[in-house]
Amino acid sequence: MLPYTEGHWRGLTYTRQQFVREYENDCKPDENRNKGASRWSHCRKRGADGSLRKSHAVEEPGKCSQSSRRPESFTTPESEGPVSRVKNWGDEVEAEEMRSNVQRDMHRYRRRILEADFPQRDRKISSGSSDSRDSRDSKESPAKGDIETDEATLIRRQKQINYGKNTLAYDGYIKEVPKHMRQPGVHPKTPNKFKKYSRRSWDQQIKLWRVKLHAWDPPAEEGSDVQQIEVIDLGEIMDFELDVECSADTESKCPTSSGASLSLAKDSFTGTPKKMMKIEDTEMS
């Protein structure tokens, strides 16, 4: 004989029945595009003590959370997007992966900065020296103020980087030029997504980077075609504002050329690098 009265248990039994009812409602064939959310949200209709909260799903299974973009915060990942109301699992997992990759990259980057600040062997007392890779950051602690931490921004930037890396040109480039052989200014370098840049500045860096990568495009037509494209693009860049940093390296100048095919453009760039360098100096101090 159970020591509890029927009344005491009724609460729990009711809960279960209620749950079943919700289930049957949820599992109706639905035309609602928010099916993902309403299906799963019944799980959170209960409070922590097991008692049932008022459930929208019971009343109108189709209407659940149409007003909010993301009905329940942990059914769909919180990212800037592409957030459509109907998320398929494929997209969701890709977004998850992007986010966790970016987080992992950030941890690595932070560690790298720390190591640059406090190199294991010789402790240098740096006072604005530009020895370390990221000299601008080394003066202050590599705290949040110095690096880009906004997840949405990082994800957007990473996507742009991925587009560039997902090209035959990039494949060819990394096969041809191992990392340690890269010469700053000559060889394209992937923009550093963790540095603080304005949106325009960043977009321009990406553009430049991708233009440079074209030098490694697989030979389809003759080289002159490639050259033509490059000249046009560089014309745009020439008109750009001076506050744009062309390169992700603080130590390198704005890229003067991106390959042999740019002999024409090279001359037109002679003036620009100096200006860029000046700006970089002032920014560094």
């Binding site: 079943v20 799963w40 799980c43 699992w89 494929g90 997992v93």
Partner: protein, 222 residues
Amino acid sequence: METSSKEEYTIQSFDLETQKLLKTALKDPGSVDLEKVSNVIVDQSLKDQIFSREAGRICYTIVQAEAKQTNGNVFRRNLLNRLQQEFKAREETRKRSTQEWVCLVSFICNIFDYLKVNNMPMMALVHPVYDCLFRLAQSDALKNEEEVDCLVLQLHRIGDQLEKMNLQLMDELFNLLRDGFLLQEDLSSMGHLLLLEILEFRAGGWTLSETAQKYYYSEVTD
């Protein structure tokens, strides 16, 4: 990539042509129609109970192989979207065939177990998996040994991971199981046993004490 013996064993349930397709997918994913491969795998997992519990490993291997070879995730995307379709239709599936339903649950949980994203379980699957388990914990399901068996199997395999992802839901689920164990009149004695074991299992931190292990799993000599 060599097909390990475990994978070999798992794909033996397929016809020879499909076996060949899968083997190629494991070694050279870029050369096959990965959408087709994912469909083949899902279809089989809904029919074959043993496969449904082990297919996760093959899927994982293909995902890794594709990422390495072409940096793509066509296979994973197709697999997940197909799985989502099946998940949405789960209530109909359950009405049509309990066997298919438990296969589906096993498969989803197996995927959850194996397909990790940067060594983390896929968050997108947490709620769907819980949904399936909650469904199995309903009274109309608990009275079927087949469904109880499926439920406790999944909890044994991925219960601790699920709990880490969402403790509250796990608590709620176990409230249902406790209820069912105590109150449900049409539970078979095997059903009772399975539920009691899983209650103890979780209470012990997702492991059985030695005595409990002996109690449940030793041969009883008459």
